[in-house]
């Protein structure tokens, strides 16, 4: 089985397990304030790391290319309170333009 299939099926199975278990365990088990705090911060940590790596890395090499310009556009659009699809499309268009010009 290819890496892609393992990633697709494995992550899907675990995602469902997490959703289903959450609805099934007794409430006291997971409602400790520390667990809740950490759980709220995990997405911030992982999303930020994903942004950094998907923008400034190529495998294990650090790079600075057209994607960084795309991200600058995304950041500007978010600060200007643009809606979500506009942010993604704006970043893609900027990056594509930079890719053709650089």
């Amino acid at each position: 089985m290819s890496a892609f299939w393992i990633a697709v099926l494995g992550s899907s199975a675990l995602a469902f397990l997490v959703k289903f278990l959450g609805a099934s365990v007794p409430e006291s088990f997971l409602s400790h304030p520390r667990i809740l705090r950490i759980n709220n911060l995990i997405p911030v940590a992982l999303l930020t790391a994903l942004i950094a790596v998907n923008t400034f890395a190529d495998k294990t090499k650090l790079t600075l290319d057209n994607r960084a310009l795309g991200m600058a556009a995304a950041l500007a659009l978010l600060i200007a309170k643009a809606p979500f699809p506009v942010v993604v499309v704006g970043a893609a268009l900027t990056s594509a333009l930079a890719y053709r010009l650089l």
Partner: protein, 213 residues
Amino acid sequence: MSVKRDSFSVSITVGAYGSAFGAAAVAADFSVLQACLLSLLLFSGASQFAVVGVIAAGGTPLNAIATSTLLGTRNGLYGLRLAPILKLRGFKRVIAAQITIDESTGVALAQNDENEMRKGFWYTGIGVFVFWNLFTLAGALGAQAIGDPSAWGLDAAVPAAFLGLLWPRLADRKSWVLAGFAILLALTLTPFVPAGIPIISCTLLAIIIGWRR
């Protein structure tokens, strides 16, 4: 305010964004079928993008699974919060679990009485599921048709999507500090450890910063 209208507008806006996922997945060399299966079976935006993002960054499948699952733990806590309101058993509980995501939980908890909460959960969960999957297919087919992903900026669409997901979570100083350290740690580790490890290592930062009030 009608819960039906709330649910519908959330479903169509969030669902449309599935096209970005479909396109990003295909740009990262997933097949159209794999992109669609992620939306059908995994069905949690940030986790789906994480699978694609980790593999695109050169990470192993195990790494992709771990990152995506950690991002999905909040769905478990949503389920915990919703269980006493939904009061479900058997097959319905299985269906409800699959559509327990940010949006269905958000709309449900915004309602005033339990009956409206249940409606909000089901309408939004099913609505997002339908539109998200349709748009995933459209985005995946679109990306397949256009060839070189960099020429269309699709390589920047993935991190931009992550940034869009992260933005509303940067609500307090603690989150900003954590984000700053996560960028530093992830990029510092990148040249020295296998791809994918720098991402999941940042979980540790969340635990350290979240440990104390």
